[in-house]
Amino acid sequence: MSKLKFYLPVFGFIVVGIALWRGLYLDPKTLPSMLIDKPMPAFQLMTVDGKEVTNEALPEQIFLLNVWGSYCLPCLIEHPTLMRLSEEGEIPVVGVNYRDRQDLALNWLQENGNPFVFSILDEDGRFGIDLGVYGAPETYLVDSNGVIRFRHVSVLDETVWQEQFLPAISELRNGRGE
């Protein structure tokens, strides 16, 4: 029995080694959203066009909430996908213009195209904090009752749309109704 105790270090090391090996497959940087299955935070803000909006203005169907900024390079990269989604009427996209300047935002939309039903103006990032935003671009999937169901951080390209959003949407449609 006393000889077995000398095997404890090796055994401990194997356990640690397996943990480290598994750990290499994890991504420690993407925060899971705390708002999954919770309603959209209440807001009463202006849009980039200067209109006042509240939660009432949100679409009464499944929609995307996209956090973007004119300074944000990846937002430009995902822009064509958002344009396609909005132009083909596949899903409405509501924007949150995050920590930006209104004039720069309007310019950006003018130059590149506006896929958004409307864009909430969040110059000081306060609304972003309520959403738990930590960096643009982020996209939320919100159901017809205004409940957040899914969040994707970083670029939303066609692959992400196919592989992550479409399955989530069909699950919503089947399970919880339009």
Binding site: P32, G125, G135
Partner: protein
């Protein structure tokens, strides 16, 4: 090995996206943040500093709110300031942050069923260490007593030697 290559590709893509994502928003390590918030009391300022140290910057590489500049960190510090001035308690402020950013933003992990081993681990280690040390000492003492005690024949020999010497 094939799966590793795929994994590397996937990670490579992720790395590119993340570096783009963070390139404009990542705070620079060497530039410390400087806010100029006005507090009414010394205690409020102390609370602000403590809370800024206890909260993690959600977009940075493992620094606290107080040690990061720009972006979300700035906004969150402003929120902490406003909440302190609004009379909110430390607990309420931490709760506010937790509701939006989760456990990630708390540098002091909450004590839950999953973190029990974390918080009591060191105590358990100490108990094990003490136990093992005690066992070692007990064995050593047995050896010690053994080599100090002499049986009858050895006692005789010792006596003879001592007698001879003197």
């Amino acid at each position: 090995m094939a799966s590793t290559a795929n994994l590397a590709k996937h990670w490579g893509k992720a790395a590119v996206f993340f570096s783009l994502l963070f390139s404009l928003l990542i705070p620079i390590v060497a530039s410390a943040q400087v806010d100029t918030f006005e507090f009414e009391t010394e205690e409020q300022q102390k609370r602000f500093r403590t809370l800024s140290n206890e909260l993690r910057c959600p977009m940075c590489q493992n620094s606290s709110l107080s040690g990061s500049s720009g972006g979300v960190a700035e906004d969150l510090r402003r929120e902490v300031y406003l909440m302190i001035m609004d009379g909110k308690s430390d607990r309420e402020i931490m709760q506010f942050m937790y509701e939006r950013y989760g456990d990630f933003i708390l540098f002091r992990p909450r004590l839950t069923a999953e973190t029990v081993l974390l918080w009591f681990g060191p105590l358990i280690f100490l108990a094990i260490g003490g136990f093992v040390g005690f066992g070692i000492w007990r064995r050593a003492r047995k050896v010690n007593d053994k080599d100090v005690e002499l049986d009858a024949s050895q006692q005789e020999r010792l006596q003879k030697l001592l007698d001879n010497k003197s």
